[in-house]
């Protein structure tokens, strides 16, 4: 199974300003870019923000190749969206929408490239901690992020494998031959991941670090 096609850049060790920046600041950056993608109405402004984000990414030392790879993986989807929007709403709107999506992808890549995953999980768990009084489990929030980060390359790899299989059988033009196997593999993968996490005791009820005494047991699932 191919699994290298990760939309967001993996963590790249380093000591850049972005590596040293506090996690909350990087969260704000990503959230700000997400909000800006709704607020910016001029494609030129989107282009400027995109250029700034690319500059930030390169400043982190993650390199041009990782940046291009993240963008390249989005290319087929963005091409489709861009053409559709150009047909429906014209060139400037299509350019703005595509650039805004790219801004979000690069901002998220800045976060993942400059933050070790464990720090990211600790940050997410920390952000979710106030919701504990409402019954939420912060560790489960963190685990959800971990599983999401892991699942994206798997699904991308599965799609590449299925596409090759369809080509080998002369079925590359049949959408069912592409979509159904990816769907079935993804569901099977979700079940396997659930089993694997359960087997390691991750994500069990009340599985917070604070009450992580091995002796502390709760009723079974």
């Amino acid at each position: 199974m191919r699994g290298h096609g990760f939309l967001l850049a993996n963590h790249v060790p380093g000591n850049s300003l972005l590596h040293r920046a506090p996690l909350w600041a990087k969260f704000v950056l990503v959230a700000g870019c997400g909000a800006a993608s709704f607020l910016i109405v001029d494609w030129l402004a989107s282009a400027v923000v995109f250029a700034v984000m690319c500059g930030l990414f390169l400043l982190s030392g993650a390199g041009v190749r990782r940046l291009l790879r993240a963008l390249w993986l989005m290319a087929p989807v963005l091409l489709f969206i861009g053409l559709f929007q150009w047909w429906q709403l014209g060139g400037p709107t299509a350019a703005r929408i595509v650039l805004n999506v790219l801004v979000c992808v690069v901002a998220a890549s800045v976060l993942t490239a400059t933050t070790p995953v464990q720090d990211l999980l600790d940050g997410v768990a920390g952000l979710a901690r106030p919701f504990r009084r409402f019954g939420a489990d912060p560790e489960r929030f963190a685990l959800t992020i971990a599983v999401m980060l892991r699942s994206i390359p798997f699904i991308a790899g599965t799609f590449a494998d299925v596409r090759d299989s369809a080509r080998a059988r002369g079925l590359e033009r049949n959408p069912r031959a592409l979509v159904l196997p990816v769907f079935i593999s993804t569901v099977a993968y979700a079940r396997q991941t659930g089993d694997a996490l359960a087997a390691r005791g991750l994500g069990d009820a009340d599985d917070a670090i604070d009450d992580a005494e091995p002796e502390a047991t709760t009723a079974g699932t």
Partner: protein, 237 residues
Amino acid sequence: MIELRDVSVRVIVDGQDAPKTLLDGIDLDLTERRIGVIGANGSGKSTLLRLLNGLVLPSEGSVRVNGAGTLEHVRKVRSQVGFVFTDPLSQLVMPTGREDVELSLRRTVKSAAGRAARAEAVLDRFGLLHLADQSIYELSGGERQLLSLAAVLAVDPTVLVLDEPSTLLDLRNRELLRHTVAGLPQQVVMSTHDLELVLDMDRVLVVDNTRIVFDGGPAAAVEHYRALCAASFEDVP
């Protein structure tokens, strides 16, 4: 000490009135250090192994690990029983080995620095430190299987369950796995189709058609299994 008392596992299958039996009437005390489980595909081997970690719960009877029942204390059981799957890629959740071992430790080690130090020590113990920051997709099958073993053993379980761990490995990596498992202090319960691996075991269970049909030494178990397979061909023209 693992105890299975009159355990049966039945599941509801769509379109069938009666539940399907996956395991029937299993009564075992597992005390040996190395226990093998062999049998044909679909015989119930994986279900038997999954019972030990609470991944599958008994429909009837009980499973207890060091006194803790899987129905009542599944968290405690899972903290004691590590489980290694056939395909390490379905088990490894994080992008790199270091991150995956650290994920295992989140339940038991509170500080990030403590997790990092412990993960480094575990990876070093398995000779995987130089691969710690590589993508799991860049590792060989054997390295991935060793990594999944390391991630499970990082939390010091007392029992290690391996479900056909050598199926996807070449000869060299199979030997690496065999050597590593042989040196572990944990009680090991392993299912496999590799009859050579079974010979390393102290006790071997042969599972056939939802029941344990043989329980004894490895050589006799392999002989019984071969006879069982040969008998299944007698009706084939």
